[in-house]
């Protein structure tokens, strides 16, 4: 019972850190594609006196990645219904040029304003509409969710680290006597810490496997049967095989730091 308890006291906080890390990886991947969608879905409207090429827009601001001309004939057909063909020509001639201008990333509204100012500084550009209010609320909500999750993961990691440090103190107490006796008789560091390494490495593997199992369950059972569109669409992003390597690497790194902290703090013969 004590044996199981000792292992769980290390495995559980380690799992909490790994879960936090995996949540971060999953969130980063899913928000990346969401961010991409937002970016691709967003364009600002630019009204010009004369036709403008993409390069001309990019010369005004480097963040502009695309420009699409809106067909003026379509606009005229909408606003000049029942007007004679001659008058239509006159309207068309008087009408400015309209462009949907896309950006290279999803950015804060202050940067949108900067782009707007850059464009409006050109004499050929009559008007720029950024649709700032709807863009801003979407951006703020997205940023808030992202920040909150990162904060939660960070908090969880800190609490878990404290639990691991606590467990290290228990290990230190449990293994100190043996390590000191071995040190007196000339055992090198690796031999002194061998048992501790074996135990901690086994715990790191167990924590990695359990964390992976939880995410595999989420991916193949929960998400697949959840009926939630976004979950089903993003199922592939939920857990990748490479994540297991990242989790194991992180767990082993924590183990190495933890074991060496115990070994070094147990140096010297007890008086």
């Amino acid at each position: 019972m004590k044996f199981i308890k000792n292992h769980l006291m290390f495995i559980l906080p380690l799992m909490a850190i790994l879960l936090g890390l995996e949540f971060y990886l999953v969130f980063d991947r899913t928000t990346d594609s969401y961010e991409k969608g937002l970016k691709e879905g967003y364009t600002m409207l630019v009204v010009t006196k004369k036709p403008m090429e993409l390069a001309a827009f990019q010369a005004l601001n480097a963040h502009i990645s695309s420009s699409e001309k809106i067909k003026r004939k379509n606009i005229v057909s909408e606003i000049a219904k029942g007007v004679s063909a001659g008058s239509r020509k006159e309207i068309l001639a008087a009408l400015p040029y309209f462009y949907n201008v896309g950006l290279d990333s999803y950015m804060h509204t202050s940067r949108l304003e900067k782009i707007k100012n850059d464009l409006e500084a050109d004499k050929n550009i009559k008007k720029v509409e950024t649709f700032g209010s709807s863009y801003s609320s979407a951006y703020r909500l997205f940023s808030f969710i992202k920040f909150t999750l990162k904060l939660f993961i960070g908090f969880m990691a800190v609490v878990s680290l404290f639990l691991i440090i606590k467990q290290m103190e228990i290990w230190k107490y449990a293994h100190k006597e043996r390590m000191q006796v071995m040190e007196i008789f000339g055992a090198p560091l690796m031999l002194r810490s061998g048992v501790l390494f074996k135990v901690a490495t086994a715990d790191a593997f167990i924590a990695t496997l359990l964390t992976s199992a939880i995410f595999l369950y989420i991916k193949f059972q929960w998400a697949a049967n959840s009926g939630i569109d976004i979950m089903m669409q993003k199922q592939e992003e939920l857990f990748r095989l490479g994540d297991m390597g990242i989790l194991l690497g992180s767990a082993l790194l924590i183990v190495i730091i933890a074991v060496y902290s115990v070994v070094y703090s147990s140096k010297g013969v007890q008086e």
């Binding site: 006597e177 043996r178 000191q180 006796v181 071995m182 007196i184 008789f185 000339g186 055992a187 090198p188 031999l191 010297g268 013969v269």
Partner: protein, 224 residues
Amino acid sequence: MSNVISASHLTLAYDNGAKEIIKDASFNIKKGEFVFITGPSGSGKSTLLKSLYGQIRPKEGNLVVGGLDLANAKQSKLQELRTHMGIIFQDYKLVNEWTVAKNVVLPLMIAGYSVDVQNTQAHRLLKHVKLAEHADKFPLELSGGEQQRVGVARALAKNPVVILADEPTGNLDEYSSNVIWDLMENACQQLETTVLVVTHKIPTIFSLPYRHFIIESKGVYEVH
């Protein structure tokens, strides 16, 4: 015969050199000698012993053990030196979660001997200290005298060049103490091991020729 231990104007201190325990001590101990170090409580007997296995480094002077200058030795060299020493403590310092047999072969384990050799040697050593039937027990299942015999067996495991013993019979009754002295006498006589014992009192039953040092007022003096 060559010196196994050589101290010259040795000063030992605690608290980063502020508290001197031994001052300007000089002595030589040769191979195969049996040496007692006595002195009142707190005089620095154990401190001197600790310095001999590198637990405390000299503040001043030279201390050479087994050809290694302990004032300047690297940690790895110090570790190597310790593998040629047998150290016996008043509180035994056995690993309580290990069996008696595993405790005894610790020096062999550190030296990288095979499990077969370790098992054979464990049996031989435990038979030598008359504890063969206790091989699979744990230290806390044994009496104090028996635990110290395990400690002696461990110290003898690798035929050490030198045995350092800190009050080895301090916690034992007369019978157990006599058994321990017998074992150490045998080691010195038969294996030509240098034995250095820190004790309050030299045992009356002791039969071997020995040298006696006394520590007084921070000095180490030989009693003739």
